[in-house]
Amino acid sequence: MTGMTRRPGFFGRGYNFLILFFLYAPIFVLIAFSFNSSRSRSVWTGFTFDWYKSLVQDESIMNAFYTTIIIAILSAVIATIAGTFAAVGFFSMRKKWRTPLLHINNIPMMNADIVTGVSLAMLFVALGSLLRVNFFGFATILIAHITFNIPYVILSIMPKLRQIDSNLVDAACDLGCTWMKAFWKVIVPEIMPGIINGLIIAFTLSVDDFVISYFTAGGNVMTLPMKIFAMTRRRISPEINALSTILFLTVLAMLIIINVREARQEERLKQSQLMLNR
């Protein structure tokens, strides 16, 4: 095997570096200039936290920040609960039904955000005129975020369900549990790593989302990505750099957590399979 993998040569390494440079250079420039003391976007004049301070002082930005966090937490929690039940439901179906339904579950993830956003907006408009209320705002963003989060939660839980012993529920029932008790005492703890991964992914996607929020927000509520977009249209200020940096670091932290968790779980699974064969 080791003969197959050759270490990259000079050109290989140079090529890799070039790719990473184009991917990350803009972000590093952004982060660097969020600490630049002048409004200039080309000259470095000195280090400052001023732009971060003015962010905190700007009420509309802080409102957008709170909205984003609250929607992210609520939509992640609700989507995780709904997605967990859905995943268990899918899993206990016969294969004949499970496979097509899982494919249907995957479609919204591949769907263009703008299509999801516009179609949700149309739905809310239609519902609003039917019920004669305009409920665009916090609630519609929340519903939209729950909607696009659920498939990801299901996707992160399914592999955990596949890993558990097919007789596990039977074993719990055999030992005195009703089906519902077996669900809480055995299935949920066994798939907990998947549930938590799903929760973090849902939170991250919600914080990250711009397009769907933009179409479902109506006029009064703004999330952080929407706020950044609005600011770029009025005047280009270094505060945008600071805000984008915060957003980038939040998402980065979440992604690191997810990846570390998954790597650990894989390691543990490998180890237990190794033990079983002894």
């Binding site: 012993d165 007789n167 039977d170 030992l175 005492k185 066994e190």
Partner: protein
């Protein structure tokens, strides 16, 4: 000793139109070690799942201690199960796995207090030689140790019946033999009724009081291990349990059967005169004599050394027999054979006649492939 505990009457199960169990009638006595034996897909696991309550028969009744229990869910049955791949709870440690059934208060029990739970779990871990493993993660245990946790987790609830679904299937040969003895010992010392599912005929013969041989969703024979081996009911049972030569014969009269035109004395009776029958001759019941002295004369076409004895293949009139002998023979030699009357067993013709018991294609290699197939083929159709 012979009080009836479980009865299945006319149980039928079909999955998507495929009949998996076809009118099973079976009773299991209290304190009995009963084995359901058969190849993959014969319905043995399905039968076990009916007793455990994980599956309702499409028709037919299940009785426990005289009461009909078709609609009693698994958690209300006085039955515990050891599952094929153990089905341990990986999020709990060894102690909590074993304590699981005690912590879940059953509707008919009072809640068991902490001290008693701890006492019973520790006692049970001692029985399965896992004392000191309480805090260990179950996924850090070896296959044999996980097996023991599964046994302790089931037995700690003091069930009336323990169901075991191929519990030793994942263990290697050596460990399996040890665990066979241990399970038998646990069964005798606790007096719990064991219903054991396996495809391994040696395991079934070594451990059971009663063996139930199944094939195609139908019970082929029920009997003690000796009965099943010595008096198989049809060609399937004769072939599945041990090695057998099965040849066509004609019953001339009570105690006399004709094979290849020669009359042999036997102990069987009750057949019509001139009735065509299947004749079973076990390879170890055939005596080799010099060609002139034997009833039949044949030529040795193959020899395999088996350690204790040789397997030799002998050609009689184009039909190849397997004979087990400790005598050293040479390929190509002509030999005569003698069979004592108690070495011949007569069976009625069945749908299995002519399907088994011919060693024409026999070779040591072929034998191994056949075994491997039995070992690794999971019973998919039963899990649907």
């Amino acid at each position: 000793m012979t009080k009836e505990l479980i009865r299945l009457s006319d149980c039928k199960v079909a999955f998507d139109g495929d009949v998996v169990l076809d009118n099973i009638n079976l009773y299991i006595n209290d304190k009995e070690f009963l084995t359901l034996l058969g190849p993959s897909g014969c319905g043995k696991t399905t039968t076990l799942r009916i007793i455990g309550g994980f599956l309702k028969p499409d028709s037919g009744d299940v009785f426990f201690d005289g009461a009909r229990i078709n609609d009693v869910p698994p958690h209300k049955r006085l039955v515990n199960t050891i599952f094929q791949k153990y089905a341990l709870f990986t999020h709990l440690n060894v102690f909590e796995n074993v304590a699981f059934g005690l912590r879940v208060a059953r509707p008919d029990d009072k809640k068991i207090d902490k001290h008693e739970i701890s006492h019973r779990v520790i006692e049970m871990l001692e029985v399965v030689s896992l004392k000191g493993f309480e805090k260990r993660d179950v996924s850090s245990l070896s296959g044999g140790q996980q097996q023991r946790v599964a046994i302790a987790r089931a037995l700690v609830n003091k069930p009336k019946v323990l169901l075991l679904d191929e519990p030793l299937g994942a263990l290697d040969m050596r460990l399996r033999k040890d665990m066979q003895n241990e399970l038998k010992q646990i069964q005798q010392s606790t007096g719990i009724t064991f219903v054991y599912v396996t495809h391994d005929q040696e395991e079934a013969l070594a451990m059971s009081d009663t063996v139930v041989v199944m094939e195609g969703g139908v019970i082929q024979q029920i009997g003690t291990p000796e009965d099943i081996y010595n008096e198989p009911k049809n060609a399937f049972v004769a072939d599945f349990i041990g090695e057998s030569n099965i040849v066509d014969g004609i019953m001339r009269s009570d105690g006399v059967v004709e094979i290849f035109g020669r009359k042999f004395k036997c102990l069987d009776s009750g057949f019509e005169p001139m009735e065509p029958v299947d004749v079973v001759i076990r390879p170890e019941d055939i005596d080799i004599v010099s060609p002139g002295k034997g009833k039949l004369t044949g030529t040795i076409t193959g020899i395999t050394f088996r350690g204790v004895m040789y397997d030799i293949i002998v050609d009689f009139h184009g039909f190849k027999w397997l004979i087990q002998t400790t005598d050293l023979c040479q390929v190509g030699t002509e030999i005569g054979i003698q069979i004592d009357p108690d070495g011949i067993h007569i069976m009625k013709k069945s749908r299995f006649s002519g399907m088994y018991g011919d060693y024409s294609s026999y070779s040591a290699e072929y034998d191994d492939i056949g075994d491997a197939e039995h070992e690794y083929e999971p019973e998919d159709e039963d899990e649907a």
